[in-house]
């Protein structure tokens, strides 16, 4: 019983022209900073009476960035939760068509987020909406939704290109 228990090595992911390391490092930095801020919060609160609560706004923003950036690298690795059972039961030809169609649907989803997210950020910029916590203009947070959705969209396009190149 000397075996180590560990998660099976996650698939290293396909060869991509733009290295996945970019998103991986960014996501790792986000979660690391999140842990540091939260820990600092606890320490500061127990040692002093100073409330660190204004960091909440920033933490929450970092979490959104981590989600989108991490989703981008996971997209290339095919790691998002999905049900492949039925598609795998299909014979090769139809299965290939369904895979292409499914990938196209994911493309549309994130393209939609790019366009609509950009409109949301622009609206907030136009109407000079400010955040309740730090009083910063909110568009500097929300503008990352379309930008990072663009990154995810790019990764889906990569999946699509590899599917088309690989044929069935």
């Amino acid at each position: 019983m000397d075996q180590e228990i560990q998660l099976p090595e996650k698939a290293a992911g396909p060869k991509t022209r733009i290295p996945l390391k970019i998103e991986e490092a960014a996501a790792a930095a986000c979660i690391g900073i999140l842990a540091l801020i939260t820990f600092a919060n606890v320490v500061v609160r127990y040692l002093t009476n100073i409330s660190f609560a204004f960091t909440e706004e920033f933490s929450v923003f970092l979490m959104v960035v981590m989600c989108l950036v991490g989703s981008s690298s996971v997209m290339a690795k095919g790691g998002h939760l999905n049900i492949s059972y039925l598609v795998e039961k299909l014979p090769g030809g139809p299965a290939y068509v369904v895979r292409l169609a499914a990938t196209l649907m994911v493309c549309i989803t994130f393209l939609g987020l790019v366009v609509l997210g950009a409109r949301m950020a622009y609206d907030e910029y136009r109407y000079e909406v400010t955040s309740p916590g730090l009083g910063l203009p909110t568009w500097i947070y929300t503008v990352w939704l379309p930008i990072l959705s663009m990154a995810i969209f790019g990764r889906v396009m990569g999946v699509m290109i590899r599917l088309l190149r690989g044929g069935r």
Binding site: A27, A28, A29, I31, H80, L81, N82, A102, M120
Partner: protein
């Protein structure tokens, strides 16, 4: 076509075509909002606001803590300690699989991920010891599905975000007894079947690890749940803070006590846990579009009323809900189920004055059962793929495990203190 039919129909169509669940939810929601003219700008607003919630910060923090505990060899020491207690006789590997899944599970909040993690080690060990692949796959799938009951469970955190009156500490505490119950409910048939058919007799000749030494090694790991639950009990920490304390504790144990972690490991841990959390949070974000569409269409109320009007009273309604959850649990993970169906069920539960903590645990227990109910069960698919067993070969064993889990469920439904006693004693409301 009624927009509600379109919404759910599109979602299921996309999902069964292999579109990731997050994208299926987001796209179905977006299209229905666009078609019905409910205000398309609700889409980006809901995605952003759905993720940007402070209580959700507990998710990446617990995932990070879990990854650190995994990598620092804490889990391996727990496994050795479990073996020291249980021994190496017939059926012991099956029981150890279940216990280990309980201990290291719950972190990812996803049954399939836990099945893959536990199965990666235990399936091979079981098959080498002479367990038939179908049996090993069934036990691993069942073990991996029940981990969402054991604190710290990400599924409970999501439930609490959606149902704020059920606090995270209360849910964590409430999950303890049902979690142990599920563990016993699975171990008993696994053990009896092994004894009956003589599975794992070869492994019995190996010596047991010494009890005290393995206890000493596992001591630091055993203290972690005390720290997490104890910290929340005394009101020192919020769930997010308790998670970050677990992170710090895991780092101290990994770097200073066991000296098993390196900085390179740490980077890998950060990447993995950020990506795991991203997968969960993306589902949360895009599911809020779906949930917004379904609540704005006003389909919740008629369905809830219809369910109540079906008759059968309180017990009838709860049986319908449970059956439904087992069925959707066959193909959806717990978190997605909560996000999609809680807005529907919570008003019903409130109508009957059910305790929402009890209801959350009950829902989770049902979802866990669904995750290893053949023929569609996600967890069985994972364990079958890892072990090379066919789905058909698992069914014979799986049904015994399900039957036993079902008795546990009956106990929880008929005797709510089984869920509510621990939070009561600990003073969580």
């Amino acid at each position: 076509m009624h927009p509600a039919v379109l919404l759910f129909g599109l979602f299921f169509l996309l999902m069964f075509a292999g579109v990731p669940i997050a994208a299926s939810l987001g796209l179905a929601g977006t299209l229905v909002i666009a078609v019905t003219g409910l205000g398309i700008m609700a889409v980006p607003t809901n995605v952003y606001a759905g993720i940007a919630k402070y209580p959700l910060l507990a998710v990446p923090m617990f995932v990070l803590a879990g990854a650190i505990f995994d990598r620092s060899g804490v889990a391996a020491r727990l496994l050795r300690f479990t073996t020291a207690i249980i021994g190496q006789g017939r059926g012991s590997l099956a029981v150890i699989t279940i216990v280990v899944a309980m201990i290291i599970g719950g972190i990812s909040g996803s049954g399939p991920a836990c099945t893959a993690a536990v199965g990666g080690v235990m399936l091979g060990a079981m098959m080498r010891a002479g367990y038939p692949p179908g049996f090993a796959a069934a036990v691993t799938a069942a073990a991996g599905s029940t981990d969402i009951l054991i604190p710290p469970s990400v599924a409970f955190i999501i439930y609490s975000v959606l149902v704020p009156s059920a606090t995270v500490p209360a849910l964590f505490a409430a999950g303890i007894l049902p979690g142990i119950l599920a563990c016993l409910a699975l171990s008993l048939p696994a053990l009896l079947l092994s004894l009956r058919y003589g599975f794992g007799a070869q492994a019995a000749k190996q010596p047991k690890p010494p009890f005290w030494r393995s206890f000493k090694e596992a001591f630091w790991a055993l203290m972690a749940p005390v720290l997490i639950l104890g910290g929340m009990r005394t009101g020192w920490f919020t769930p997010t803070e308790a998670a970050v304390m677990a992170v710090v504790y895991g780092l101290v144990v990994g770097f200073l006590v066991y000296r098993s972690l390196t900085l390179k490991d740490l980077y890998q841990i950060l990447v993995e846990s950020a990506e795991t959390s991203a997968v969960i949070l993306l589902v949360v974000g895009l599911a809020s579009v779906f949930a917004w569409a379904s609540s704005t269409l006003g389909i919740v109320d008629p369905i809830a009323k219809g369910l109540v009007r079906l008759g059968g009273g309180e017990l009838g309604v709860i049986m319908i809900i449970m059956l439904f959850l087992v069925v959707v649990g066959m193909f959806l993970d717990g978190i997605s189920i909560f996000l999609i169906f809680l807005p529907l069920f919570v008003p019903i539960a409130q109508g009957f004055n059910w305790n929402l903590v009890w209801f959350g645990v009950l829902m989770t227990y049902n979802i866990a059962m669904g995750q290893f109910t053949p023929p569609m069960a996600v967890n069985l698919m994972v364990s079958c793929r890892l072990s090379g067993a066919s789905m058909e070969s698992t069914i014979k064993w799986d049904l015994w495990l399900l039957l036993s889990m079902f008795f546990g469920l009956v106990l929880i439904v008929l005797y709510p203190p089984l869920v509510l006693w621990v939070p009561e004693v600990l003073g969580f409301r």
